[in-house]
Amino acid sequence: MITIEELKRIKEEQRPILEKRLIEQGNVNINEDGSIVLNGDYYKKQVRIALKNCGIIDPNNIKEYIAVDGYFALANCLINKKAKDIIEDMKASGLRGRGGAGFPTGRKWETAFLYDADQKYMICNADEGDPGAFMDRSILENDPHSVLEGMAIGGYSIGADKGFIYVRAEYPLAVRRLRAAIDQAKELGLLGNNILGTGFNFDIELRLGSGAFVCGEGTALIESIEGKRGMPRTKIYRTAHKGLWEKPTIINNVETFANVPVIFQKGVDWFRSIGTEKSPGTKVFALVGKVENAGLVEVPMGTTLREIVFDIGGGTQNGKEFKSVQTGGPSGGCIPANLIDTSVDFESLDKIGSIMGSGGMVVMDENTCMVDIARYFLDFTVDESCGKCVPCREGTKRMLETLDKIVSGKGEEEDIEKLESLSETITLGSLCGLGQTAANPVITTLKYFRDEYEAHIQDKKCPAGACVDLVEYFITDKCIGCGACARACPVDCISGAKKELHVIDQDRCIKCGACMEACPPKISAVIKR
C-alpha cells in the first residue's frame, strides 16, 4: 500500500530526472510555476489542460506522471474530501462533457451519487470515431494516467468501485499504454483495494470495441460491454440510475476525465477563469483538412474559429480561398466563411446549426464541393447506422441516394425539398443521437451553400469542380501541340497531330486530371469547366 509520503518521495525523486531529460531534449519550456509547455508558435497560442502532459511525460512511466503532480488530486480527494464535496466542486467548476453534448459533468455525477444502489459503475467512453478526430487517442496514448486518475476521483464521488474503459480496438497503441498504465497504477497501489490507505477500492478494466461507430453512443456502449449487439436503448430510465447491468452508471468522455485531476489540482476558480461563463475551460480540436498546420489544438472556450483556423492553423494551404469549416463530425455542420468570427462554445455553435461535438474540425477551401461534403458525411452515417430505428436506417439511405443523384448530375428540382423534409423527419424521429443529428451536414450546407445545390441541379455544374460527373476537361487554343497531355492520358483519349491543337474525346475521358497536370504551366491550355 502506497502512502501520501511515498507519493511525495517519488515526485521529488523523479522530478529532476524528468526535467533533465526534457532540457536535453530541448523542445520544452519549464515555467517558474513548475508547469511545462512545449516550445513553438503553434503551442504558444494554445492553453493546454487535457493535453498538458502530451509530448512531455513518458506515458509508459507512472513516475513521470507523478513528477508532474499526477495522482495528488486523487490523494487529496480521498484524504481530505467527502464524496459530496467533490460533486459540489465539479458542479461549481462548470465542466461540461467533452464528448459532444456538453452536459454538466457535476450534475451527471450527482444523479448517480444520489441514487442508492449496491453497485455503481464509472465508464470512460474512448470509442472515438468521428472521421478525422484524434483528440482522445492522443490523450490515451500520451497521458493515460490522467484518465485513470479522473475516473478514480469520479468513482469515489459517486460510490463506484469499478470502472471500464471502452476503447476502440483500432487504437492498438492506446490499448497497450492503457494496459501498462493500469498495471503500474495497481502495482503502486493507486488503483485496486484500499487506495492510499483510505479504504477506497477502485478497479479499472478495458473493453475493446469492434469497430461500430454507434457504440460511442452511451446506451449502445453499455449494451456492447454487456456482450450484446451494440444498439442504442430507448431511455426509459437514466443510465445514471439504471445503466450497465441495470446499475447506476456514469459515462464520460476521455477528455472530460483528463480535465478532472487538473480541476482538483488547481482549483475551481482557476478553471472558471478560463473559457466562457457557460462553457468554462478549454476544448481540444483535431484541426485537419486543407489547413496549413494540421494537428491537435487546445484553446479556451470562446476562442473564435478565425483564431483557430488562421492564427494557429496558419490558414488554408497554397493560398487558396477559405470556404468553410466543419465542426462536430458526422453530427455537425459546415460553417461558412462569413461566420468565421463565431466563438467556439456549446451555445454559439448550436445557434448557427453546427455542434461542438467531440472536436473534429475540418477546414475546406474553394476546391471543396459542399454537396459532396454533405454526401460524404451521409455516406458515413448510412454505413454506421445500427439499423434499429426506421428514420435513421431507411431515411439516411434515401437521403444519400438523393445526394448521389445530385452530385452525378441527375438531380431534379424537387430533390432539395425532399432532402429538407427527410432531414426534418430523421431529426425528429430517430431514436439516438446518431440519427437525430445525421441530417446536420445536409441541413447546414442547404442553409449556407444552397446555391451550390442549385448549380448541381439546374446547371448540372459543380462550382468547386470537385464532382467528377459534372466537370469536363477541355483543351483551349493556347495548345502548342507538344503532346504532353496525350502521353499522360491513361486511357488514350487525347488526339492531335504534332504542333497542332489537341482534342479530348469526352466520351472516353475518365476525368482524372492527368492532362491538366501534364500541360506545361507556361501554356496552361487544359482547363476544367
Binding site: R229, V382, E384, G387, K397, S421
Partner: protein
Amino acid sequence: MSDVRLMIDGQEVVVSSETSILEAAKQIGIEIPALCYDPNLEIEAACRLCLVEIEGSNKLQTSCSTRVKEGMVVHTQSEKVVKTRKDILQLLLDSHPNDCLTCQKAGECLLQKYAYDYDLKFRVHDGAMRPQLLDTSSPYILKDNAKCILCGKCVKTCAQVSDRQVLTFAERGYETYIALDANQTLETSSCVSCNRCVTVCPVGALVDKRALGKLRSWDGSSRVINCKRCDYGCEFEIVSKDKKNIAVLAKPPTNGRPLCLKGRLNTELEYIDEPEVPYRKISGKFEETTWSKALSLDGLLEKFEKMDSLKGKTREE
C-alpha cells in the same frame, strides 16, 4: 405507485404513474399506431410510429417508452406528429415489396392497416430495396426478409425462452436483417418451429407455412382453444372454412406460455379434419414422419395396446 392525471387529445385520463402514454391513450379509446410495441415484450421504441407531441417539449417522444406525468398534455394527432408518422410509414413502404395481393398476411398486416389509415401508397423509385431472401427450408415457417420491417419483435420473443434465442440481428444500417444463429436457415439452425416469432410478426415476413394458400384472414370462422398437451395450455386458433377445420394457428405467447411444435401438432391432429403430414427435424434436416413419432407416442401406443389387452385378459379370468 400513485395515480396521475393527464390530457390526451383533449380528453382527461387518470392512470397509475407507471403507465406509458400509449397504454393510457388506449384506456380512453385512442389508438396510437405502433409496429414494434407488444405489452408482453421489452420496450424497443424502434419503429418510431408511436411518436407523440408533449406540450413543453420541442422533440417528439415515443409513447410506448414515455411514462405519464401529472399535468402532461399530449397530442397524438398534431400536424408535426402526423407528418413524421406518414414519412416513417412511407420510408417502410419504399423498401417493402408491393405484394399485398397474394401476401398471406393481407388483412392482418399492420403495415397495410396503417398505410390505409394514413392514405399512403407504394411508390415506384429507383433506389434500393431489401434483397429477396426467402427462407423456404422449413415446412412450418416461411421467412421472407424482403417483407421484414426489422421491428425486432421476433428476436425479443425468441430470446424470452432461454434455451432458444435463435433469432438475431445481423449486419447494420440498411443492410440489417434477421438471421438465425450464425446465419443458418430455418432448417439448419437450432430453431424448434415453436412459431412464437410467427405470432408476433406484424407483417408477412414470418408466416405459418402450413396455413399458406389455404385461407385469407377474412375467410371462414375461427375459435380459440387451449392446448391440452401440457399444463401451460397455450392458445391456438382453429380456423374453419366450408364446415371443415383447416388450420391451427398459434396465438401470441403470454407470460409463462412458451408455445411448442409438439403442442401445435397435437392440436392439429385433434382438430383438423385432414391434417398434413408432420415433419421432424433430425440433425439439421426436416424429414417427413408419422404422427405417432411426431408426438413421441411410439412406445406409448404399443403399451396402450398391451395394457388394454392385459386388462381384457384379467377380466376374462
